[in-house]
Amino acid sequence: MAIFRWGHRWDPLQDLEREVDRLLSSVLSFQGIRFGRQYPPVNVIQLELEYVLTAELPGIRPEDLELTVANGVLTIKGERVGPEGIPDERFRRQERPRGNWRRSISLPDSIEEDKMTAEFVNGVLKVHLPRTPVVRPRQIKVVDGNA
């Protein structure tokens, strides 16, 4: 199970790596999910009231996506399929990998799991993870018991 750690910041070399990876995969006619780089690519943003996770999933139908939450782990899984009934020899160029994929993301403790929602627009999955209200410490006044 692949789980990333919260707080892992964006590495500016990742885009370069991804593009080199993509270039090599097309040269080598590599089929299948890209090795060494998790699919789908996700971003996590912390907002005032919620965390928002976005995942790029172009061409996936919402009904073919499966999202589950268990033991503080969000799992997204599905399958990338090519056009039906078209033999591989008809492809002049094939840069989009195919196959089953699954990605798991550990959630922080401060999430209201039962209020999570998800939407899928233009090939981008967006999961809203509401943050639990911060419990502020309450000052308790000590009264003099002898008075």
């Binding site: 990333f4 919260w6 707080g7 892992h8 910041r9 964006w10 990742q14 885009d15 991804r18 593009e19 993509r22 270039l23 998790q38 690519p41 996700v42 971003n43 996590v44 943003i45 912390q46 907002l47 005032e48 965390y51 790029e56 999933l57 172009p58 061409g59 996936i60 139908r61 090519g82 056009p83 078209i86 008809r90 492809f91 002049r92 160029r93 094939q94 840069e95 989009r96 899928f120 233009n122 090939g123 981008v124």
Partner: protein, 124 residues
């Protein structure tokens, strides 16, 4: 590959990615399938200029605010652009494009070749 494009007037810079594509060939023509997650019909342009096909798609990213903080990022938001050379047998006037769920499909029909005609040879 990607590049950074800046607007001189506003100092705003955007990443521009080359979208991944599939190209299928049949007897009738070619079909180009490009991944442009985050783009829709209104933000996608397909332009034919002489022998060149240009695909451009803009992605609207949420503006960063004081309350927002990136905790994890596999990718950065950016637009898409890629240029393809069109073969002479592609019929420019019948090119069609559709976009759905972040996938652009461009149909590139081949020109219909005239059937060979038999010429009657007359005596004389």
């Amino acid at each position: 590959m990607f590049q950074t494009v800046c607007q001189p007037s506003s100092n705003a810079c955007r990443l521009v990615y080359k979208p991944s594509v599939k190209i299928l060939e049949s007897v009738d023509g070619l079909e180009l399938i490009a991944e442009i997650p985050g783009a829709d019909q209104n933000s996608t342009d397909v332009v034919v200029e002489k022998d060149t096909l240009i695909v451009r798609a803009r992605v609207t990213a949420p503006a960063p605010s004081a309350e927002s903080r990136v905790l994890y990022a596999d990718h950065r938001d950016g637009d898409y652009e890629r240029t393809f050379q069109l073969a002479p047998e592609i019929d420019r006037s019948r090119i069609e494009a559709h976009v759905k769920d972040g996938v652009l499909r461009v149909r590139l029909p081949k020109t219909q070749q005239p059937l060979p005609q038999k010429v009657t040879v007359l005596a004389g």
